[in-house]
C-alpha cells in the first residue's frame, strides 16, 4: 500500500534570533562573552534561529507545547478530521519528562483519543525512526492516518546556568573546551509535523513515501555527540551513577558534548550509505530532482563531493535545498521543518512527478538515514 505525506506543520518559538543576539538569549557564562562563539557561528553559517527560552533563560514553551503546536498546524491544514488519526509517533532528543514517553504528553495536549503511540529516542535521526515506524504501520493497513511529530528544545541544555553550575567539569578546568561549546552555538528550538495517509490529499501536492533506509555505525565508531557523561575517556560513570544529580551537574555530566574531531566520520558514513543505496539499485542519482539534507552542503564541500562527481553519482549543487540557515539546526525536527517550508517556499519550484531525496545523518554514534519521496497530486 502506498502512503503519502498529505499535510505538514511547524512551530518555531519566538522571533528569529540573529547571530549577534544569540548570546543574549543563552546568556554569557559568568558574564564573560564566549571566545569561541563567533568562530563557531561563522563555520555553521546559521543566520537566524529560534529559542523557547527568553533572555532571562526562562522557558517560554515546553517541548510538548511546541510539538502540539506543530501538530495542530498540520492537522488544521489536513483534509481529514483528527479523529481519523490512528497513530501518533513523536521524536525528540529529550522530552520534558524522562518518563513517560513524550508521545503520551503530546497526545494529551492534542486530546487525540485512544491512538497508538510511539516515542522514539535518539538525536537527529529519531524523527526518521518515528516516520519509518508510522509508515510501516500504515503499510500494514492498521491505520488510515498517522501523525508524526518531532520537536527539540535544546536551549534548556545550552543556557548559561548549565555551564556555570559545572564547576569541576572540563569546561571549567580547560582553557578552551571546544567540544562542550560547539553545539551551544549550533542548535536551537522548533518542531515539525507530518500527516501520513493512505491516499493523497484531494487538493495540492502530497509526497508519496517510496522508501526509508538507515545504517548505524555505532559498532565501530566512538560516541561523537552525547549528554550524560563528564567527557573524560577514563571516567565511565554516567549522570545516573553519581550519588546525587547535583554532583553529576557539577562534574559536567549533564552538558551536551560533541567530539568535533570525529565529526568527519559522519560525512564519510553518509556517503557510504548513499553509495550503498546506489549499488543496491534503490537510489538512482540521475532521478533525484531535489536533495534535502539535514547538513548543508558546505559541510561536505571537500574532496568527497568531487569524488562522487567523478564516480558519476554526484548531486548537482542546484538540487540541494535547505532552510537550515534561516530556521536553525533543530536536530530531529529539522527535516520536518524543512519539508514543510519546501512545499511552500518560492525559492524552489516543486512539480508533480519529481523525486525528493532526504538525508538525515546523526552524529551521536553515527546513524545515517535516507528518505525518498515522490511529489504527487490526486
Amino acid at each position: 500500500m502506498s502512503v503519502y505525506i498529505t499535510s505538514t506543520g511547524r512551530f518555531l518559538p519566538g522571533p528569529p534570533i540573529t547571530v549577534d543576539e544569540v548570546e543574549s538569549i543563552l546568556g554569557a557564562v559568568h558574564d564573560k562573552p564566549s571566545s569561541l562563539r563567533v568562530q563557531i557561528q561563522k563555520a555553521n553559517k546559521i543566520q537566524t534561529r529560534h529559542y523557547a527560552i527568553d533572555e532571562h533563560q526562562q522557558t517560554t514553551h515546553s517541548n510538548t507545547d511546541m510539538a502540539a503546536k506543530a501538530a495542530e498546524e498540520c492537522l488544521d491544514r489536513a483534509y481529514i478530521g483528527r479523529e481519523k488519526v490512528g497513530m501518533l509517533a513523536v521524536a525528540s532528543t529529550q522530552g520534558d519528562l524522562p518518563a513517560p514517553g513524550m508521545a503520551s504528553m503530546v497526545q494529551a495536549e492534542l486530546e487525540l483519543p485512544e491512538v497508538e503511540i510511539l516515542t522514539t529516542h535518539g538525536i537527529c535521526s529519531s524523527s526518521i525512526m518515528a516516520l519509518k515506524a508510522a509508515w510501516n504501520s500504515m503499510r500494514l493497513d492498521e491505520h488510515d492516518a498517522a501523525l508524526v511529530v518531532s520537536s527539540e528544545l535544546a536551549s534548556r541544555l545550552l543556557k548559561k546556568q548549565r555551564y556555570e553550575a559545572a564547576t569541576t567539569s572540563t569546561f571549567a578546568t580547560k582553557r578552551i573546551d571546544f567540544s562542550t561549546e560547539f553545539l551551544r552555538w549550533m542548535l536551537s528550538d522548533g518542531a515539525g509535523a507530518l500527516l501520513l495517509q493512505n491516499k493523497p490529499a484531494p487538493k495540492g501536492l502530497s509526497l508519496r513515501i517510496d522508501w526509508i533506509r538507515a545504517f548505524s555505525h555505532a559498532h565501530a565508531l566512538p560516541t561523537c555527540m552525547s549528554v550524560g557523561s563528564a567527557g573524560r575517556t577514563e571516567d565511565k560513570r554516567t549522570w545516573q551513577d553519581y550519588n546525587t544529580y547535583a554532583e553529576a551537574e557539577k562534574d559536567g555530566a549533564l552538558l551536551l558534548r560533541q567530539d568535533v574531531r570525529l565529526l568527519e566520520n559522519l560525512m564519510r558514513m553518509g556517503v557510504d550509505g548513499y553509495l550503498r543505496l546506489v549499488e543496491e539499485g534503490v537510489s538512482n542519482p540521475n532521478n533525484v530532482d531535489h536533495f534535502l539534507c539535514h547538513y548543508s552542503s558546505h559541510h561536505f564541500r571537500n574532496k568527497i563531493l568531487n569524488l562522487l562527481d567523478k564516480a558519476g553519482v554526484g548531486i548537482p549543487e542546484e538540487k540541494w535545498w535547505t532552510n537550515l540557515y534561516s530556521r536553525g539546526n533543530t536536530g530531529s525536527a529539522s527535516l520536518f521543518i524543512m519539508l514543510d517550508e519546501f512545499l511552500r517556499t518560492d525559492e524552489v519550484t516543486v512539480k508533480e512527478g519529481e523525486s525528493v531525496l532526504c538525508f538525515v545523518p546523526e552524529s551521536g554514534r553515527f546513524n545515517t538515514t535516507y528518505l525518498h519521496l515522490t511529489v504527487v497530486s490526486q
Binding site: 565501530a220 568527519e264 556517503v271 574532496k303 567523478k310
Partner: protein, 248 residues
C-alpha cells in the same frame, strides 16, 4: 574525501592542470570508483576498531604506541617497493603507459622506510629494535598476497591495492600526524613518514583517475580491481590488529 586521496606517482612533469580538468571517466571506471569508495569508507571506519588506532580517536595514544606502530609498519613499507617493482615487470608492452607510472611510483617510494626508521628513533626507539623487527602476522599475509598478485600477467587489479595503501598514506598525513604529536608531545620529526604522504595529492588523484580510466573498461576489470581492494583492506587491517601481538 579528505582522507581518501590516492598517490599514484609524483612526477609533476606528467601532470598538467589543463589535463586534470573535467577528465571524465568511462562508465566502467565510474562504477569501479563507486565501489572503491565504499571499500575505502568501510576500511577507514573499521580502522576505528583497531585498539591502537582507537586510542588516537579517544585521545589516549602514547609515544610507546607510536613506536609500536612504526616498528610494525616498516616491513610493509620495505616490501611495498618490492611488489610495486614486481608489478611493473609483469605488464607487457600493451600496457607501457601504466608500466611507466608504476615504475616512477616505485622510484619515489623504495627508500621510504629509511624515513620511517628515523621517525622511530625520534620517537624514543632504539634503531636496532626496528632493524631487527620481523614481519608481523598480518604483514606476512599482506606481503604474500601482493607478491602473488603482482606476479600475474598484467596485474591491473593492483590498482585496488594502491587505492587502499595510498589512501591510508593520505589519512596518516591529514588525520593522524598532527594529532599524534598533540597527544604524545613528540615533535614533527617523529611523524615525517606520515606527513610526507600528504604532498601533491590532487595530482596523484588525477593520475589515479587517468590510470583507472585506461585500464578499467569491462565488468571483469571492475570485479578484479574491487576484489583486490577488499582483500588488501582486510589484510592491512589484520596487520594493524597484530601490532600489539609482537609478531607472535
Amino acid at each position: 574525501m579528505k582522507n581518501g586521496e590516492i598517490k599514484i606517482e609524483s612526477d609533476e612533469k606528467l601532470i598538467s592542470e589543463e589535463h586534470s580538468e573535467d577528465a571524465g571517466l568511462n562508465p566502467h571506471a565510474q562504477v569501479c570508483l563507486q565501489h572503491l569508495l565504499r571499500v575505502w569508507l568501510g576500511f577507514e571506519r573499521d580502522l576505528a576498531k583497531v585498539p591502537l588506532l582507537r586510542r588516537i580517536d579517544l585521545g589516549t595514544y602514547t609515544a610507546e604506541d607510536h613506536q609500536l606502530f612504526l616498528l610494525n609498519i616498516r616491513q610493509q613499507v620495505i616490501e611495498g617497493s618490492r611488489w610495486i617493482t614486481r608489478t611493473a615487470s609483469s605488464f607487457d608492452r600493451n600496457h607501457a603507459e601504466i608500466r611507466s607510472t608504476v615504475i616512477s611510483h616505485a622510484v619515489d617510494e623504495h627508500r621510504d622506510y629509511e624515513m620511517l626508521e628515523k621517525d622511530f628513533v625520534a620517537s624514543g626507539g632504539q634503531l636496532d629494535d626496528i632493524l631487527n623487527m620481523e614481519r608481523n602476522i598480518g604483514s606476512e599475509a599482506l606481503h604474500g598476497f601482493l607478491m602473488h598478485k603482482s606476479s600475474q600477467p598484467n596485474p591491473i587489479d593492483l590498482l585496488g591495492a594502491m587505492w587502499i595503501i595510498e589512501g591510508l598514506g593520505e589519512k596518516m598525513a591529514t588525520s593522524w600526524a598532527e594529532r599524534i604529536q598533540e597527544l604524545t608531545g613528540l615533535g614533527e620529526d617523529s611523524t615525517r613518514f606520515m606527513t610526507y604522504h600528504g604532498h601533491n595529492d590532487s595530482e596523484h588523484m588525477e593520475r589515479f583517475y587517468q590510470t583507472l580510466d585506461s585500464v578499467c573498461t569491462s565488468e571483469n576489470a571492475i570485479q578484479r580491481i574491487v576484489k583486490t581492494a577488499k582483500v588488501v583492506a582486510r589484510l592491512y587491517r589484520l596487520q594493524l590488529e597484530e601490532l600489539e601481538h609482537g609478531g607472535e
